[in-house]
């Protein structure tokens, strides 16, 4: 147990110290900063495919940003990088003033746990677990004791108006409710950003609007939201749209 603690402490110190080295690069209030991000896939025979070729942008704390682009534009790759599911071939990425490019697998897992709340198109809930247990998962992996965990998970479910459904399994919930469970799960560990990948893709337009309204509410409450989509209508809910095409940022516009 103490070894486990030492490892976690060591990892945290390492992550913290990496932030110390590069502190001054992103300015205050900037939560995401990428600088010349490249993602290159080797397809063999010296053929290289550039999914991203030099992407640089900043997102400030409390912003509501949509990353938009057609399929194949590289927006999914970008989302994976922002979500710390993958690392860039070249370039740097700061998240919450920490340099997270070039971290190891386990360190990335730690960042994902603490800093990022995912909302997926297909909800990605554990089908055999109750809504409450699904929401508890990020807290489990941050090692929070059961009592505190339960309180936090219930609190998060209350925020998405699902307090009365917390003991239902995902297959007993409607699509909209499932996505709200997923949003509660994304919120529960107080992440720096909420990263939503086509959150309304599997919902009818009415339910989709409800979910978008929920995102707006979370935005109003001060959360930073990054929305990845290919739909204009959905992107229009955001207050800033970053258009991606062929692995580059095509346009970065503010919507009011």
């Amino acid at each position: 147990m103490s070894e486990e603690r030492d490892r976690r402490t060591a990892m945290a110190t390492q992550v913290a110290s990496s932030s110390m080295q590069e502190t001054l690069t992103p300015s205050d209030g900037v939560i995401i900063k990428t600088d010349n991000l490249w993602k290159t896939y080797d397809m063999g025979e010296a053929i290289q495919v550039h999914a991203l070729s030099g992407v640089s942008f900043e997102i400030e704390r409390g912003e509501y940003v949509a990353i938009m682009g057609p399929s194949g534009s590289g927006k999914s790759t970008l989302m994976n990088l922002i979500g710390c599911l993958d690392t860039a071939t070249r370039g740097t990425y700061w998240l919450n003033a920490r340099l997270v490019s070039e971290l190891s697998d386990d360190e990335l897992a730690y960042i994902r746990n603490k800093e990022i709340g995912f909302v997926f198109q297909t909800f990605n809930l554990l089908s055999r677990a109750s809504a409450l247990h699904n929401v508890e998962l990020p807290l489990i992996y941050s090692g929070m004791p059961a009592k505190e965990r339960l309180e936090r998970a219930e609190e998060a479910l209350r925020k998405v108006d699902l307090a009365d459904r917390m003991h239902h399994k995902p297959n007993e919930l409607s699509g909209g409710q499932r996505q709200r469970v997923a949003i509660a799960r994304a919120l529960v560990n107080n992440p720096s950003i909420i990263l939503a990948d086509e959150p309304t893709g599997n919902l009818d337009s009415g339910t989709g609007e409800e979910i978008m309204a929920l995102f707006e509410r979370l935005h109003q409450a001060g959360n930073t939201i990054v929305l990845v989509t290919h739909e204009h209508d959905i992107a229009a809910h955001a207050h800033r749209i970053i258009h991606v095409r062929d692995g580059r940022i095509e346009r970065d516009e503010r919507v009011e």
């Binding site: 976690r8 945290a12 110390m20 205050d28 003033a97 994902r112 554990l126 489990i140 992996y141 965990r149």
Partner: protein, 433 residues
């Protein structure tokens, strides 16, 4: 400055976790939850998977129980010759079948002259007695139309009551006077009393032992039954009477009692030397008789059981390996089946070691439960065996069984678990199930 405060806040968060001391325990508990959930969700598959481990554990514990039961029996009934007593007989007891066959061919019975010779020549013993049994004949005892078969009829010297482990319940044992006068008296076991005299005093009643009338002078304390055979079905008569009516030159078991354990070893050596000299056994040749003492009986017995045990260990090891491979196979299938789930968990911050632990714990819990089922089955088997034969489940066997099965699950779970832990989160999330 912002970064400093963030570092500080991070350290604060860590400090909070250190205080609660959770960490690994929290994720381990989650892993247990998942393991039990997976078992519950796939009951039939789990049971089939665990069959190998269950059989291995049952076999191990059942065999250990039977050996343990026989050990207890031997220690209690065969090796327990009495305090500082050893017995000179035609052959060694509790030896291997081959050795026994050889001894049967080659050894000569201990005769009455040899008993008398030892009684005169040996020095310093506490007492020396002899007994002879009726062999290879269907013995029976009768009383007023009741007949008991397979009665152990033996002729004894009067001091056998002090040397052996028998106790007088009522009446008296055979006396020196009975011995000298070749009296027609007998000292009987509980079974004869229960059968012939359920409500009357058995003393001074006359019973027929193989057609010859004997007066009952005493009853022995109940011994009980072992190996499913009653130990109280016997009648003892004076050795002199026995020789007169049943067998003039019986094969004797001569019991020598020493004053203490050290003297016993000296006496054993002396008896061996005396008998070898009397029988003219050439130097370098084996004894043509056997000296049986508690320790030597236990030693030979344990050696025999050791062989059986080694064979069992081999069989159990094969079962366990087969069971382990089946578990590994199912765990590999389970990892493939749950790739998407692994992706979800990784996206939420599960590290490699969290996933590794999840699957290792799952296979250990599964195998451990298999071991538990095996233990229960072994208890059942032991009860059944004990009914016919003898078997006592030792605690050590239960612990070994549970530990071994869990260890097998752990070992064979490592490979599938490491496969799961190494999955790429993006690939895993993309996998549909």
């Amino acid at each position: 400055m912002a970064s400093l405060s963030q570092t500080a806040s991070l350290l604060l968060r860590l400090a909070a976790r250190r205080r609660t001391g959770a960490g690994a325990w929290v994720t381990a508990r989650e892993a247990f939850w998942i393991a039990l959930e997976a078992l519950r969700a796939h009951k039939l598959r789990s049971i089939l998977t665990l069959l190998g481990v269950v059989i291995a554990t049952t076999t191990l514990i059942a065999v250990m129980s039977i050996i343990n039961g026989m050990n207890l029996y031997i220690a209690d009934h065969i090796a327990n010759l009495g305090a500082n007593v050893f017995i000179v007989h035609q052959w060694k007891w509790a030896q291997g079948y081959e050795a026994w066959l050889k001894a049967r061919r080659r050894n000569k019975p201990v005769r009455i002259e040899e008993f008398e010779f030892l009684r005169e020549s040996l020095k310093g013993y506490k007492s020396i007695g002899a007994s002879a049994g009726l062999h290879n004949s269907d013995t029976q005892a009768r009383y007023q139309g009741h007949t008991l078969y397979d009665v152990g009829v033996s002729g004894v010297t009067p001091n056998m009551i002090d040397i052996g482990q028998q106790k007088v319940e009522s009446g008296r044992y055979i006396t020196e006077a009975d011995y000298q006068h070749e009296s027609m008296v007998c000292f009987v076991g509980r079974d004869l009393v229960d059968d012939f005299f359920p409500s009357v005093d058995p003393l001074n009643k006359e019973i027929l032992v193989n057609g010859i009338p004997f007066r009952v002078i005493g009853v022995a304390q109940k011994i009980g039954s072992t190996f499913g055979e009653s130990q109280d079905n016997f009648a003892q008569i004076p050795l002199t009477t026995f020789r007169k009516f049943y067998s003039p030159r019986p094969s004797l078991a001569v019991s020598v009692q020493a004053w203490n354990a050290r003297q016993m070893l000296v006496l054993e050596d002396e008896v061996r030397a005396l008998l070898r000299a009397r029988r003219h056994i050439p130097y370098r040749e084996d004894d043509t008789f056997g000296i049986n003492a508690s320790e030597t009986i236990m030693d030979t017995w344990n050696m025999l059981m050791g062989t059986i045990f080694t064979v069992t260990i081999g069989i159990v090891a094969v079962f366990m390996v087969v069971g382990g491979i089946v578990i590994m196979n199912i765990m590999l299938a389970s990892v493939t089946e749950r790739t998407h789930e692994i992706g979800i968990r990784k996206s939420l911050g599960a590290r490699r070691r969290d996933i590794l632990m999840q699957f290792v714990i799952e296979s250990s819990v599964m195998a451990g439960i298999g071991g538990g089922i095996g233990v229960l089955l072994a208890f059942l088997v032991s009860r059944i065996v004990d009914y016919f034969f003898t078997s006592t489940v030792p605690l050590s066997a239960v612990l070994v069984g549970l530990f071994l099965s869990t260890a097998v699950g752990l070992f064979f779970g490592i490979y599938p678990a490491s496969k799961a832990a190494k999955l790429d989160p993006i690939e895993a999330l993309r996998t549909e199930n």
